[in-house]
């Protein structure tokens, strides 16, 4: 009797860690993995306004890829993704290398490069929409400087609207990439560069042949982060171009939102969401795999 009495509080106490994690586990199983499966299942049904469970195989995926708008959105994502990632990497690396030269006022400059990251994409989009305004924005500024014929109408140009999104996205995210590279550079021993220079390498050569290879993991994480931002980009497009003119600057996330919530095409929306998930997984799985392997090798 006394034994079991002593034991009971022990068991409750030993259950506590699991009890604490229980709500999170339940929420995760239902609202992440369960919902993923739900959306996956939905993408194989005829659902339009409301979910319904008549399975039609890959019909919605067929519809999706026959849709010229989805085609545009996917193409845009590739162009946007490549430009956004390449420019952010280049700019971030360059600024980080220059900031790493024992610069006076480094803290202040870093703060300036990074502040856009604190602002929402909607604010960024609103600001750039005004700056790039076809009649009163940049165009007028340059004309006032004396270049009377200067034209800058990317925002309303079918072929150029996407690039305004690249500009705004780079402005917002490149400072963060700079911070990542700077942290990476700070972790490198100064003597490495000195040794390379004693061997007769110019500073450029030293960076190219010694420093950049060491920064490889930073490149890797930066690319994963940037491509993740690119695939999820929604707010910026919505605020800056609204996907327009027409649907010329749509990205997959905007397509998904439009079809699932404005057009009552739930099946197509679910199918597009699943394709987005596949895209993220295609980037993530190799990354996690190499990270885990790296950790194992390290220990």
């Amino acid at each position: 009797m006394s034994v079991s009495k002593a034991k009971r509080p022990m068991t409750l106490e030993s259950l506590l860690p699991k009890l604490v994690l229980a709500p999170t586990t339940a929420a995760m199983l239902i609202c992440m993995y369960g919902f993923m499966i739900w959306t996956g299942a939905l993408s194989f049904t005829k659902s339009r306004m409301l979910p319904q469970w008549d399975f039609v195989g890959f019909e919605q995926y067929g519809k999706l890829f026959d849709n010229p708008r989805w085609d545009v959105a996917l193409n845009n994502l590739v162009i946007f993704g490549i430009l956004f990632i390449a420019i952010s990497l280049l700019l971030g690396l360059l600024l980080a290398i220059f900031l790493d030269q024992k610069i006076r006022g480094e803290g202040a400059i870093r703060t300036i490069y990074l502040y856009p990251m604190a602002v929402s994409f909607v604010v960024t989009g609103t600001a750039w929409k005004w700056i790039l305004n076809p009649s009163l924005g940049l165009e007028k500024l340059v004309r006032d400087l004396g270049f009377e014929d200067f034209e800058f109408r990317w925002l309303v140009d079918q072929d150029m609207a996407l690039y305004t999104i690249v500009i705004a996205a780079v402005w917002q995210s490149s400072g963060f990439i700079m911070a990542m590279f700077l942290a990476g550079l700070r972790g490198i021993d100064d003597s490495l560069i000195k040794a390379a220079q004693i061997d007769g390498a110019s500073p450029t050569q030293a960076y190219w042949h010694v420093i950049l290879p060491i920064l490889r993991p930073v490149f890797f994480s930066a690319i994963v982060i940037l491509s993740h931002i690119a695939i999820k980009s929604f707010d910026l497009v919505q605020a800056l171009t609204g996907g327009g003119p027409g649907y010329a600057s749509d990205l997959p996330a905007n397509f998904m939102y439009t079809f699932a919530f404005n057009r009552a095409q739930m099946g197509v929306g679910a199918a597009s969401a699943m394709i987005m998930l596949m895209g993220v997984l295609a980037i993530l799985i190799p990354y996690l795999y190499s990270e885990l392997r790296g950790q194992k090798n390290a220990s």
Partner: protein, 288 residues
């Protein structure tokens, strides 16, 4: 030698010039937003983007705050600012507290399967939310929480906990497990150990997590636009509506004042606690 040192000086001057130029470029949008917000519409039409306001006026600010149209209603951003506050405060607090306890368990009270659980949770940081939007809308409707502030708080807590857990777990891993063992021998309970050993050293990680969550949730647009209704929209959604509502002439000064109002809370946090903000960014870097 001399040529070399002057070459170095030239190089350094170039570096400073380039860094300065980029600093100006990064600052320009903020400057344009602010200067435009203090101009009247006449001056906007006649002047240019970079010109300072000749005759600064608060007209745009007062209109953006209290009378600009954000769709069918014209009450400015004030009510939506309050909506965001009502969403952000509970969502940040709840997700942070849950994250702290989760992190405590996942770092110091591991059990069979807890590492797998952590991995599964971490994976949730990466999923594109488009994949959960539709079923979540159904769940909220079933719970009677569609278009409510409570519903939005719930959504932000559920999808924020993965990050807060990650933050706390990685922080608590650094606390020696011997401390827990010793406290257990002294008869301290699960919660006593948390309160007396972990909480007192947790101030930095609480700061990082709260700032991170605050920025994320304040800046959220996707959940806001999908799960809010008229009257419960957060400020990001209202800002987007305000900019795209064209009743009468377009008032760019009001748009800009509204954008600055929407950005102000997170900018303020960044200026006051930038160090912690950057730490959160790097800790949450897996997500981006």
């Amino acid at each position: 030698m001399l040529a070399n040192s002057s070459g170095m000086n030239f190089g350094r001057a170039f570096i400073y010039a380039l860094l300065g130029l980029f600093a100006l470029l990064y600052l320009t949008p903020l400057y344009v937003m602010l200067s435009t917000s203090f101009k009247d519409i006449e001056e906007i039409r006649s002047g240019n983007l970079l010109a300072l306001p000749q005759d600064p006026t608060l007209y745009a600010w007062s209109k953006a705050w209290s009378s600009a149209c954000t769709g069918s209603e014209c009450e400015g951003l004030a009510p939506f600012f309050m909506n965001s506050v009502k969403i952000v405060v509970p969502a940040v607090l709840i997700s942070t507290i849950i994250g702290a306890l989760n992190g405590y368990v996942l770092s110091k009270w591991r059990f069979r399967g807890s590492e797998i659980l952590f991995g599964a949770l971490l994976f949730g940081c990466f999923i594109p939310f488009q994949v959960i939007l539709l079923p979540m809308a159904r769940l909220l409707a079933t719970l009677g929480l569609a278009n409510t502030v409570t519903g939005l708080v719930l959504v932000h807590v559920i999808y924020g906990v993965a990050f807060t857990t990650l933050f706390f777990r990685n922080f608590y891993v650094g606390i020696p497990t011997e401390l827990v063992k010793a406290a257990q021998l002294d008869g301290a309970s699960f919660f006593q150990i948390f309160r007396h050993i972990f909480l007192p050293v947790s101030i930095p990680i609480f700061t990082v997590t709260i700032i991170w969550q605050f920025t994320q949730i304040w800046n959220d647009f996707l959940f806001g636009v999908v799960y809010s209704g008229p009257g419960t929209q957060p400020i990001t959604v209202a800002l987007n509506n305000l900019v795209n509502t064209s009743m009468g002439g377009k008032e760019y000064n009001v748009d800009m004042a509204a954008a600055v109002i929407a950005a102000l809370p997170t900018l303020l946090v960044y200026v006051l606690a930038g160090k912690y903000f950057v730490r959160g960014l790097t800790a949450g870097a897996v997500k981006g």
